[in-house]
Subunit: 383 residues, 2 copies
């Protein structure tokens, strides 16, 4: 049994579950730190274990470009290559092919494009993407999809939905034919449809009809207003099978995660904790804190007074601000560590609240506290 | 008792000793990882503890410029500011004032100069440098000296020696007057004299005559040939008091350290392990290894087969090479960690060899193995 639904919260749609893979179990809802290129920026796998991460996410497209499949195959798969023995989910790279590459030629067969690194001609098809992920040995694999940009004309969005479904069918066939399940892998379908209700519903219907181990809502957080992002959930969540995990791709801010869990989402990933950390912003229990701020020059308190991570136990805002001022890498690392820890601990608090049937109260408390930000947070306020 | 000489090797001048400070003991000979700006590049203080570092070195000039004295004073000193509870030695910044700053005006009183960061007018004198280090709370403090560049005319080098002695006298007076010993601090004298035998001898005589807790040989590793660097030791080491620690400033490559220990040096510092680590070069038992090298693309062995550090226990050359190829910070960190570990473990092996009266054999074995480098090492061969 890949996914087991353990319970649903009494007053919200929040769910408690567990995913079982060959590399261990993951309690849901959960957050996947993003290690696009087989490393979660600035953090070691020892750090991730220490933080309590139960899964890591990497990117098929990026790893295909660099280091290349032969090098990861030589290491015996992605787990061994990056020294991470817990579960890995690999995104297909559909989003990256459409956002990063130049001179791409999309046909029903697949996408021919130039590597964004060295201009080398590459080709990805649903079958190639499945093959790559088989070699990577990811515990959860994503199919190649067509992610329509924001904004998209209805005709273009409809074409992307059709292609995504066609490719989903071929992905599943390749998954079966190459015995990926037997190798301990589980496959997801991705729902597209941009900001159009009937397209989202059509995509959900078609993808669920193909049948996957889990379902992802893709093509979100691509620049659309936050309310549109959540409207997508209003449309598709009622259609989702209850016995499969639901993954809101690339989401999001802590308050967005809290809200999406209440709507029945189980899985999240985002580069925000590491990216914001590198830019000097910490996620804290009272909102975001920009460590560059002059008021922290002599602030001897930790980044987050309510946090027990190594960064907060050992280093002050004053010191970390200094590290950023002098461009010292340790600053990026300490904030990235704290931020990923913040996300992981948030998921633990979320699961605890669901287990105790008090998710509605938790959600209300979290959002009211989180929005009372130190430095103002227009993003949080739009949720 | 600040320094206790425990024994001298039977066949070489290598010495085993111990330095006692308010922040703990340090077995000598020892290496000080360099945390110029209150952080050893890419490493946390937890990393340094794990590696087994017993002391850290920071820079008075750099900390005076950024974050500024008030911010470190506010934290209760440098130890608390950077979360390092073991001993700290702070270099005076003499070298940096003469190498980094523009528009400097040197008088017998001190140096007036523009900050290399923001052009702000600053002034350092022997008394100011002592005051800064008193506030920093360094366990070992260095006096402001004048470091002649390489090459230097004899007249200029002689003037630098005279000024260095004058400033050493004033530094000691300030040290006594402001009761730094009572605050648990120990002071060093710095011997200058460029590449001139009689100036080196004059400087050593004068500085030793002033009288300090320890003696440093400065103005080395400033671009002169390696043989000139060691010739300086030939000249001054016979003059050094046996009951004080001897510090070869800014030295050096592993083989240079091994050689200098055999000549009676007790203390070392260099940015090489972290700097080379950031550039992709690892120090190993068989010499330097450049991780960028294509031959490592599929090399599943650790950076150094004879190393038990976290980097070598958990990550392959293939993976670390990938991290460098995609500019991931973890790569810099893993190699810096390994390199500092290499230096710290090397000092442990050095002390063990001296304790067993087999330093001559150790030195011979190390140099013959280390020089048989994987990738050639012109630097090692010149020693």
């Amino acid at each position: 049994m890949f996914f087991t639904l353990k319970k649903t919260d009494a007053k919200t749609k929040a769910r408690l579950g567990v995913i079982r893979t060959f590399h261990g179990e993951i309690e849901s809802p959960f957050f996947m730190p993003v290690g696009t290129r087989a490393t979660v920026r600035t953090l070691s796998s020892e750090d991730l274990h220490q933080i309590g991460a139960s899964i890591e996410l990497s990117n098929t497209y990026h790893l295909y470009v660099r280091p290349g499949l032969d090098i990861i195959e030589n290491a015996g798969g992605l787990h061994k290559f990056m020294n991470w023995n817990k579960p890995i989910l690999t995104d297909s790279g559909g989003f990256q092919v459409f956002s990063l590459t130049k001179l791409r030629k999309i046909t029903d067969d697949g996408v021919r494009f130039q590597s964004h690194v060295d201009g080398k001609q590459l080709f990805l098809s649903p079958e190639v993407v499945m093959h790559i992920q088989k070699v990577l040995g990811s515990d959860m694999v994503m199919p190649l999809d067509e992610c329509a940009p924001y904004p998209s004309e209805k005709v273009a969005a409809a074409a992307a939905v059709k292609r995504t479904t066609d490719w989903a069918i071929r992905s599943k066939e390749a998954f079966i034919k190459t015995k990926m399940r037997e190798a301990g892998q589980f496959n997801f379908g991705i729902i597209q449809g941009a900001t159009y209700k009937h397209l989202r519903e059509q995509s959900a219907r078609e993808i669920i009809n193909v049948g996957f181990d889990g379902y992802a809502i893709g093509g979100v957080s691509v620049g659309e207003p936050v309310k549109d992002m959540f409207e997508t959930l209003d449309w598709v969540m009622p259609m989702m099978p209850g016995d499969s995990p639901r993954y809101f791709m690339g989401i999001g801010m802590p308050d967005q995660i809290v809200k999406a869990v209440g709507m029945g989402i189980d899985m999240f990933d985002t580069v925000l904790p590491t990216r914001y950390g590198r830019y000097g912003t910490a996620f804290t229990s009272v909102g975001r804190v920009n460590i560059h701020n002059g008021e922290f020059a002599k602030d001897l308190s930790p980044v987050d007074a309510n946090c027990d991570c190594i960064t907060c136990r050992n280093y002050t805002r004053s010191y970390i601000r200094h590290l950023f001022n002098v461009d010292e890498i340790l600053g990026l690392r300490l904030l990235a560590y704290h931020n990923v820890h913040f996300y992981i601990k948030l998921m633990g608090r979320i699961r605890e609240a669901i287990a105790q049937d008090r998710y509605a109260v938790f959600q209300h408390e979290f959002l009211s506290q989180y929005q009372s930000e130190l430095l103002g947070d227009e993003h949080a306020k739009t949720v």
